[in-house]
């Protein structure tokens, strides 16, 4: 690919989020509280690089979630708020 692009889409979060959620999160429905865009998590814009991922609204770039993997833990922040949940995701 010669095109340099800044993001992938929410489909790429399927694996990392499967460490935390029992359902496939790419189909989870999301509504942006800022611009009102709606759609599945699969269509959010995801910025890396791994292991720190930020998913943003495709319409207005508002942060929808942040996910950071560090050693045995995955840290998850929902929305653009402060504070993160820590999950032990590796033995």
């Amino acid at each position: 690919m010669t095109e340099v692009s800044p993001h992938v889409d929410g489909n790429s979060l399927a694996g990392p989020l499967s460490d935390i959620f029992a359902v496939d999160m790419t189909r989870a429905w999301w509504r942006c509280p800022d611009c009102g865009s709606t759609g599945p998590l699969a269509e959010l814009h995801v910025y890396g690089p791994d292991p720190g991922l930020t998913a943003r609204c495709a319409g207005c770039d508002r942060v929808a979630l942040r996910l950071v993997r560090h050693e045995q833990d995955t840290w998850l922040t929902l929305g653009g708020a402060e504070g993160a949940f820590r999950f032990r995701t590796a033995p």
Partner: protein
Amino acid sequence: MPLPWRTARLVGRADETATARTLVLDAPGWPGHLAGQHVDIRLTADDGYQAARSYSLGAPADGTRLELGVEPVTGGEVSPYLADDLPVGASVEVRGPLGNWFVWRPEQEEPVLLVAGGSGVVPLMAMVRAHRQAASTSAFQLIHSVRGEADLWYREELGRPDPALDVRFLYTRKAPPGSTRPAGRLTAADLEPALKRLTPAGTVYVCGPTGFVETAADLLTSAGQDPATIRTERFG
């Protein structure tokens, strides 16, 4: 329970283009997958450093056999190694199947348009093959945009006449001799005939580099296609 990482063995590798490869893995315990789904592949270095990346599956479920499309990213940590250096017989870790959004199921009866940019054809090829395997009579069209003939994936298979599939190749840099369409990027005119055949209410799957997907999605919605019927997958 989180999806487990499984050990899979590389059992085959085939060239698709000068740089892109199809990797065939044997993944014991594989639960099966839907056309369009992807897997995460994880490599562990001798010092314990791990890197995981997502790869689309290019073929429908077939026991423990997985077919991955790998287009090496220049300077990438994982893809150049997978494409050319991982020896046949060696093992990697694989997790999946992943993603239930960008999928085609054999019970879908509506007409379908697949729009591929470069190696974005990989998950769409899984849909084409699943459609053929199911002997589905729903209308299937594929528009495959590539730089030139040398960048075509699955060239022989897609070049074979298939009454259940309408294939159109678009060349962005260099059109082969005899082409009626001059080389150039995807335009509204390229999509128009395909969209006409998509009535009533067909589904469009678009996969490719981010810029390509954004352009295609904009052209589709401008042409009147309901955004709710367009599913996209961008790989950066």
